[in-house]
């Protein structure tokens, strides 16, 4: 239903724009219904639901481009919007890099991307799930002090039409839970975290997630300080996902690639990572949660091999139509963002369906093979320090442990890492055999031969 209505709105909008003498026009209309129950100190403290929607309109008059987004699907207001966008386009200087809106291509919907129960989930159901998570965590130990987190259920639908004949749509659902557990023993706090996302709300297992987070939290109290330095490091899938999301942003996006800021540009066809590392971006992979068959311009999403057996190349880059048109022989890979806009306006094209190839190791084996090293549950506040060298910095969080002689010997105070991912991922002795599904990345645990820790915090 939703997609049919959106298709009509987009097609009608393009039709009306052409009547207003646009040379080319593109309309992406969308609906985004979301609900989120948030909890902290073991009770619900924020509980929200929102119905958003609108049209993102692009008007082209002889390479002069105006874009306008309005959050209504009402025809009369869209008509006004078109007139305004035409005005904007007329006085905007031409963009000589513009090579035209995308032409129609064959595409097929993704089966199973949308689940009705997830889209229609009630606040009472969310309260039940949250209650189960809170109770489970507290039942683990009397030292569990507080349980926090959120549980969200949402649906997004959009339809894109343009005057060259593009007509495509997408509809997805997503359910996500995350839990942070805080324990306290003799005035020392321990934190633990776990999360789960799925296209289907019925797959969400609050007890399992809370159990995992509580386990980490309970064993994190009374951490010891470890000196900064290079350590063997076992990264849980959550930590690996964060790293690949950042590499996507600073490296595999066409925007920094064309600005000369991406590390990929300076290592084309080089073996920059360990041969065992292979990563793709693929919306059609069964693990992908933002399972949209087309992007915000209606271009079919193509699978991009970001890292192929450790090698990066020109084929690792994700493009939208504008960045694709800027380089000879390149075209959009279907990585323009879906039309859910914020004040930031359009984002750079980048991978949002990262899937890494699994290895053959269990996390226990990685720990067993570690002489002296660090186990990282999760990273916090990661940011690029030098994108060209893929240097990232960030802190560990919610469960950091010292490994000695193949065993976890105890919790350690959170540490800051600052290191080039080109050296950290150069030698990866082991890769986990199980993939963990995250909102934008599905990845295994990995073991790094070394990661450079440059500081220690106080908890």
């Amino acid at each position: 239903m939703a997609t049919k209505r959106l298709q009509n709105v987009s097609e009608k909008t393009v039709e009306l724009a052409l009547k207003e003498k646009a040379d080319q026009a593109q309309a992406a209309s969308f609906m985004w219904d979301s609900a989120l129950t948030r909890f902290a100190n073991s009770q619900i403290h924020q509980n929200v639901a929102s119905k958003a929607g609108g049209v993102a309109l692009k008007i082209v008059i002889d390479k002069r481009i105006g874009t306008l987004t309005v959050n209504t699907l009402e025809e009369n207001r869209i008509k006004e919007t078109i007139k305004q966008a035409v005005k904007i386009a007329k006085i905007t200087p031409p963009n000589r890099e513009f090579t035209g809106l995308p032409k129609p291509e064959k595409w097929a919907p993704i089966q199973g991307a949308f689940d009705k129960d997830t889209a229609n989930c009630s606040p009472d159901y969310r309260a039940d799930i949250v209650g189960e998570a809170i109770d489970t965590a507290h039942s683990k130990s009397p030292i569990v002090k507080a349980v926090a987190g959120s549980f969200s259920t949402e649906m997004l639908a959009f339809a894109v039409s343009n005057s060259l004949g593009v007509s495509a749509w997408a509809k997805i659902s997503l359910a996500s839970i995350n839990t942070t557990v805080i324990s306290e023993l003799d005035g020392s706090e321990g934190f633990g975290y776990a999360e789960q996302s799925s296209r289907n709300v019925k797959d969400i297992r609050p007890a399992q997630i809370a159990d995992r987070a509580a386990e980490k939290s309970i064993s994190s109290v009374k951490p010891k300080k470890l000196s900064p330095g290079e350590y063997e490091t076992v990264l849980s899938p959550l930590a690996v996902g964060t790293i690949f999301n950042y590499l996507g942003y600073i490296g595999f996006s066409a925007t920094p690639f064309q600005d000369g800021q991406s590390f990929v540009k300076y290592h084309l066809k080089e073996q920059v990572f360990d041969r065992k590392v292979s990563v793709k971006d693929d919306a059609r992979d069964e693990h992908s949660l933002i399972a949209v068959p087309v992007d915000g311009e209606g271009v079919p999403k193509k699978a991009v091999k970001l890292v192929d057996a450790g090698v990066v190349s020109e084929r690792s880059i994700c493009y939208d139509s504008l960045t694709g048109g800027r380089e000879k022989g390149k075209r959009s890979t279907g990585h323009s963002f879906p039309p859910i806009t914020s004040g930031f306006g359009q984002a750079r094209p980048m991978p949002i369906n990262v899937v890494a190839a699994p290895g053959d190791a269990a996390i226990e084996e990685m720990i067993k093979e570690t002489g002296r090293g660090i186990f990282v549950t999760r990273f916090h506040y990661v940011n690029p320090v030098d994108p060209t060298k893929a240097i990232l910095t960030g802190l560990t969080r919610d469960g950091t442990f010292l490994i000695e002689k193949g065993e976890i010997v105890g919790p350690i105070v959170n540490m800051r890492f600052t290191d080039s991912m080109l050296s950290a991922l150069k030698r990866v002795p082991m890769i986990g055999k199980e993939l963990e599904q995250g909102e934008t990345a599905t990845v295994p645990a990995i073991k790094l031969e070394k990661l450079r820790f440059t500081g220690v915090t106080q908890h």
């Binding site: 200087p93 949250v130 600005d259 806009t341 969080r397």
Partner: protein, 483 residues
């Protein structure tokens, strides 16, 4: 139907459905974004957002629902939904929500401006950007990417609550900036003006953008980006660090702004951004910085990006001390969290990034009050040290203690004068030790910096906040960690 009639309808419905308190915000946002990059208009975008959000307390718990559809039916439906959600929340409550008292307000507030940025013809704005961007690019063919930015935002909003408040506000802000990226072999250096991340912004009219004079500063942006390629690397050492306003603003933001948010200190952001080392038992006791350090949250400073008439739960804009003579003395609060600490009133820090989003405790303007130095004298007084400008990377832990910042550019200070240019500067520290080592704060270059990209909350919101500061000096800071 007029907005106030729709609002009244919603509040009546909320009470009928069993809410003990409700408020509604109805609003429109116009957001104009212009980017010239490499000589072409990369983005000429207008975003129009409108809608409403209803917040209700029922059975002692919160519910919130919002929609873009501004019709009478939808207002009623959404209000019922908010109350229903509150009832679901009440199933997992430990105690009833209570709000600190507030004076009922019926008022109007409009950002004072000389020239409405939305009435300035688009081509006039684009011309300025094009001219400035071409000057950056034209400096050298080592400049591989250059951009010029303009952004203007107007928010028209109505707030009504069941206590009888009715507040209409029209808030306008604008500004912009420049970026030049120089590349040689695989080395990249960048320079921004007047501050990073698309520039600086102010609740003023187009006259603010004009005073930035982007074309007049474009040559220097290109020049410095290229010069940085040949600069020496920032040494790795402990030294006196002098930080100029465009970096100090972010230092204040991350190490004082966020940890003094009372929701963080009370644990309600634990699942995402984290908690705070400034826990309630430390209030009025913990030494946050040296006695030179005075920091306030102030939503009344003219031109501040976080300046308004009332916050999004109807509390009048005010100034509140966070740090007084180095002592941690206050929090940024909401009505609910203020009640929790038995404070007399809210600090007025509840803000939402659109009518569709739930208000959260957000920074307004977090300002380091001026000291008694001239910026120049601070450098002259420094025997050996480093002067750092313009943020490029930032990271701080989930209690806001261990931080590490990178800046675009730095200079060596030798015997009281600015010496060689340094590249890839970074510094790191622990918040109270760092502010405890602050031994000079300037007054002559004190100004408001505005950053529109502070992220917080789940679902995520992006807020525009201001920071007033000048230049400051810190003793024995670890710099240059990256080899």
């Amino acid at each position: 139907m007029m907005f106030s009639e729709l609002g009244k309808k919603s509040l009546e419905e909320a009470v009928r459905e069993g809410a003990s308190y409700a408020d509604i915000r109805i609003g429109k946002i116009f957001d104009e974004n212009l980017t010239i990059k490499r000589g072409v208009p990369e983005r000429v975008t207008l975003l129009q957002k409108s809608g409403f959000g209803v917040r209700a307390i029922a059975k002692g718990a919160w519910g919130f629902a919002s929609s873009v559809d501004l019709t009478k039916n939808e207002i009623v439906e959404t209000t019922r939904r908010a109350v229903k959600i509150a009832l679901a929340s009440s199933r997992l409550k430990k105690k009833d929500v209570a709000l600190t008292p507030q004076t009922t307000q019926r008022d109007k507030y409009t950002t004072p401006l000389k020239r409405d940025p939305f009435k300035v013809p688009l081509d006039e704005k684009l011309d300025v950007l094009l001219q400035a961007e071409r000057t950056v690019a034209g400096h050298s063919n080592l400049i591989k990417s250059s951009s010029a930015f303009f952004r203007a935002v107007r928010e028209e909003k109505l707030f009504m609550n069941t206590d009888g408040s009715e507040i209409i506000q029209e808030i306008t802000w604008c500004g912009g900036g420049l970026l030049g990226i120089a590349v040689r072999n695989s080395e990249v250096q960048r320079r921004s003006y007047p501050s990073p991340f698309r520039g600086s912004f102010s609740t003023k009219g187009y006259e603010f953008f004009q005073t930035l004079d982007l074309p007049g500063h474009a040559k220097e942006v290109g020049q410095e980006a290229v010069d940085l390629l040949d600069a020496e690397k920032c040494p790795s050492e402990e030294t006196n660090l002098v930080i100029r306003g465009d970096q100090l603003a972010l230092q204040i933001h991350e190490s004082c702004g966020h940890p003094t948010e009372l929701d963080r200190a009370l644990g309600t952001e634990a699942d995402y951004a984290g908690t705070s080392f400034l826990t309630p038992e430390k209030l009025g006791k913990l030494r946050y910085g040296s006695d030179k350090v005075n920091i306030v949250a102030d939503a009344t400073v003219p031109g501040g990006l976080g300046t308004f008439g009332y916050d999004d739960e109807g509390t009048k804009a005010k100034q509140a001390y966070l740090v007084k003579k180095g002592l941690f003395t206050g929090y940024q609060t909401s009505r609910e969290t203020a009640h929790e600490l038995e404070l007399e009133e809210s600090s007025g820090g509840m803000r939402a990034d659109s009518p569709l989003a739930l208000p959260l405790i957000r920074m307004t303007n977090i300002n380091l009050l001026p000291g008694d130095w001239k910026a120049e004298e601070i450098v002259e007084d420094t025997k050996s040290g480093i002067l750092m400008l313009t943020n490029t990377s930032w990271s701080i832990d989930d209690k806001r203690l261990n931080f590490q910042f990178g800046t675009e550019i730095a200079w060596k200070i030798r015997n009281g004068s600015k010496g060689k240019m340094l590249k890839n500067p970074t510094y790191t520290g622990i918040t109270p030790e760092f502010w405890g080592s602050c031994n000079a704060i300037s007054k002559d270059d004190w100004m408001m910096w505005g950053t529109p990209n502070c992220g917080k909350g789940v679902p995520g919101q992006v807020m525009y906040v201001g920071h007033g500061c000048g230049t400051a000096r810190f003793r024995s800071v670890r710099v240059g960690l990256i080899k």
